[in-house]
């Protein structure tokens, strides 16, 4: 086994395969250079947590579709009201004193409208038909969606601001401060929020005097009560979340380093602790939005949301209940729209969580 034969080293499995490359084979026995070794060392591509997450997110078909849906809806509710020929509160039936404008099916023209077209007028079609008062349903649905999105956005912002400030203070300072603050959170958390919202909304409906502001009265007392209750009750989940994050990050070394160089509590909170919790916070906010939209539509459905004539997807659905057998489209359309909105946000939030939640990283 150890004898050499004809100068060819054995045991390397080089054999006599290719006599022409005799010389080349022997060079393989030279030591490899460091570069050659490094080249063979195939490492994975380094990339940041954020980039990794984004790649993962956009490879998720469900999240991608949801994201597109959200963008489309956003564009629609911003752009369409500006260009649409009908307004949401114009009752064509009353305006023209002609009942033929009411309860038109999607894309249908009423008899009066047909007559006007015959006369040479161009009448923009009612994409979703009209309701019992002759109002163009398409624009009403768009406005309803707009209300939902506004509520979702602002309510979530309120929750975000109050919750993260409260949570970070409680988490950072710890000790007695934390104890007391968390007891308060526990109490608020245990209150039946929907019942209280209903209570407050019904009270405020009769008491709030907002006629001096056009914007506020257009929104209606229902909306305002939603915002008030969100500000009072709904931030506790976010507070707990943020506090948990703070508690974990507080123990990290870079916080100690910051303290050692004399940074104050608030500085540390804003500069270090919060940015590190960003991914968890963002996910939470994204999931808070559909929850707020749900609450708004629920309240509108039982009559406590926006005041007529401003439509809400919930109130549209509720009104449509009465004529469900004759004009089902009045119910189906807002139902679909609100389902799409809420579903899109939920699925996108789920996708965000799957891609960015550090706890789920494998």
């Amino acid at each position: 086994m150890t004898t050499k034969n004809s100068g060819m080293p054995i045991g390397f499995g080089l054999g006599k395969k290719n006599p022409l490359s005799f010389q080349v084979d022997l060079t393989l026995l030279q030591r490899a250079t460091e570069d050659e070794q490094a080249a063979a060392d195939i490492k994975g591509k380094p990339s940041s947590f954020f980039k990794d997450g984004l790649v993962r997110l956009f490879h998720n078909p469900v999240a991608l579709v949801s994201f597109i849906a959200i963008i489309l809806v956003l564009i629609a509710v911003i752009v369409i009201p500006e260009v649409w020929p009908y307004s949401y509160d114009l009752q064509l039936g009353t305006y023209y004193s002609d009942g033929s404008y009411n309860n038109l099916s999607p894309m249908e023209y009423g008899t009066a409208e047909l007559a006007r077209i015959a006369n040479g007028e161009t009448i923009f079609p009612h994409l979703f038909g009209t309701d019992s008062l002759g109002r163009d349903y398409f624009i009403r649905v768009i406005y309803g969606a707009r209300i939902s999105l506004i509520v979702g956005l602002f309510a979530s912002i309120i929750v975000l601001i109050i919750g993260s400030i409260y949570g970070s203070i409680s988490g950072y300072f710890g000790g007695k401060v934390d104890l007391v603050m968390m007891r308060i959170v526990d109490i608020i958390y245990s209150l039946p929020d929907l019942l209280i919202i209903i209570l407050l909304a019904s009270i405020l409906k009769t008491t709030l005097n907002i006629d001096n502001s056009a914007f506020l009265s257009a929104l209606g007392t229902g909306m305002i009560s939603i915002f008030i209750v969100f500000a009072l009750l709904y931030w506790v989940g976010m507070a707990r979340l943020v506090r948990g994050q703070i508690l974990t990050i507080k123990k990290e070394d870079f916080v100690l380093a910051s303290k050692a160089s004399g940074a104050s509590g608030f500085w540390i909170i804003f500069k270090h602790l919060l940015p590190n919790s960003i991914s968890v916070i963002i996910i939470s906010v994204t999931l808070q939005i559909p929850s707020a939209i749900f609450t708004e539509s629920f309240l509108s459905f039982i009559g406590l949301g926006v005041s007529a004539p401003m439509p809400s997807l919930g109130s549209l659905a509720s009104d449509a209940l009465n004529s469900i057998s004759s004009y089902p489209y009045l119910l189906i359309i807002p139902a679909c729209i609100i389902s799409i909105i809420i579903l899109a946000f939920n699925l996108f939030g789920d996708g965000l969580r799957d891609s960015f939640d550090p706890k789920l990283q494998k």
């Binding site: 004898t3 045991g11 390397f12 030279q30 030591r31 050659e36 063979a40």
Partner: protein, 374 residues
């Protein structure tokens, strides 16, 4: 039970196992072969990702769902296990081959008493009464050194310490008197002093019950304490196999030498020599030797093809081109690396194969220091 005559208790031939993950296909095991005889203790060492645990899971056929045994053969007591029916496999598991895992705290179901789980182990394979199962469990608890066994039987896992739980887990594994025990890093999750106790326990029980043991670990001290044979794994392949003596005193593969040299000793002040480079990316295995990028003796050929296994002695094999080169250039059967602690090169021939005694003593002491606290 077959009455077949078989040569080895366990024979693994050219095993290939891979896993599908999001980033691609992980080649966890790439052609592993070894044999184990009755009553012997085999140590499989390697770093995380070397494939040592997967090898044992493959024997038991409890690999994760996204894992797949691509090819190879595993013959236990003369019977081929790959492709065996589910019932036959269940009959073997816990009965003729038993396994214990790394973390005793999570190895037991938290909502049932340990008595319940011990009896379950007995009654799964043997048709005995509850009373009999209870008796056997008590016997086993005594054997593994748990005092007040009757009281313990009624307690829940969370009421025990890590060391005690591992004893119970060992007892549970052995209650059906298996021929082979696979211990996957049984001491890694325990304190150092407890580690020693558990190793002593294993040694003790092995002498009493005579089963073969496969001990998977990354801790060389544990290997030195009880193993007869050692397989060194890297990137899903066995790069060196031999008896414990051969591996510790005459390591051939650079990786093995690296492992032994990277263990800190209190002996002299030689610098710690970590193995340079990064662990291998198992989704993109190089075509040559997987260790080549980190090897100080790397030759160009090492980057091109994987070395065949060569025999250094009847009990000592390795897959390394540098070894082949030394064999060829120095024309000797036996090669030696530097003795583990000293720097000077020693030209060893057939005659003085045995490393001089003082160095041997020192090395044994060093390694044993890692296991016992004396």
């Amino acid at each position: 039970m077959t009455a077949k005559n078989y040569k080895h208790l366990l024979e693994v031939k050219d095993l290939h196992v891979s896993f599908k993950i999001m980033a691609g296909k992980v080649e966890a095991i790439n052609g592993v072969s070894f044999t184990l005889d009755k009553g012997k203790i085999l140590g499989i060492v390697g770093e995380s990702g070397s494939g040592k645990s997967v090898t044992s899971y493959s024997i038991m056929q409890i690999v994760d769902k996204n894992g797949h045994i691509d090819s190879g053969s595993i013959v236990f007591e003369g019977e081929e296990m790959l492709g065996m029916s589910k019932e036959k496999l269940r009959n073997i598991r816990g009965n003729r081959i038993a396994m214990i895992f790394q973390d005793p705290m999570t190895a037991l179901d938290p909502v049932y008493t340990i008595g319940n789980q011990l009896e379950e182990a007995v009654r799964t394979h043997e048709n005995v009464s509850k009373k009999e199962a209870y008796k056997r469990s008590i016997e086993m608890l005594n054997l593994v050194g748990i005092n007040e066994p009757e009281k313990r039987m009624k307690q829940y896992p969370f009421e025990f310490s890590g060391g005690m739980l591992q004893r119970i887990v060992i007892g549970m594994a052995l209650v059906c008197k298996p021929d082979l025990l696979i211990a996957d890093e049984p001491t890694t999750a325990l304190d150092v002093t407890i580690q020693a106790q558990i190793i002593e326990l294993l040694k003790d029980i092995q002498e009493k019950m005579g089963m073969a043991i496969i001990l998977i670990t990354h801790d060389l001290g544990v290997v030195a304490a009880i193993c007869d044979e050692v397989d060194v794994m890297y990137a899903g392949r066995i790069v060196e196999r031999g008896t414990a003596d051969e591996i510790f005193y005459r390591p051939a593969h650079e990786y093995t030498k690296g492992l032994i040299n990277s263990v800190p000793t209190l002996a002299d002040d030689h610098e710690l020599e970590p193995i340079k480079g990064n662990p291998v990316n198992l989704t993109r295995l190089p075509k040559g030797c997987a260790f080549a990028p980190r090897c100080s003796k790397c030759m160009k050929i090492c980057l091109e093809k994987f070395p065949d296994q060569i025999e250094l002695s009847p009990n000592h094999y390795t897959s390394c081109f540098e070894t082949v080169r030394l064999l060829n250039s120095e024309g000797i059967i036996d090669i030696t690396a530097k003795p583990t602690v000293e720097e000077e090169k020693k030209e060893v021939t057939e005659e003085n194969r045995v490393v001089d005694e003082p160095a041997k003593e020192k090395t044994i002491r060093e390694i044993k220091k890692l296991v016992k606290d004396d």
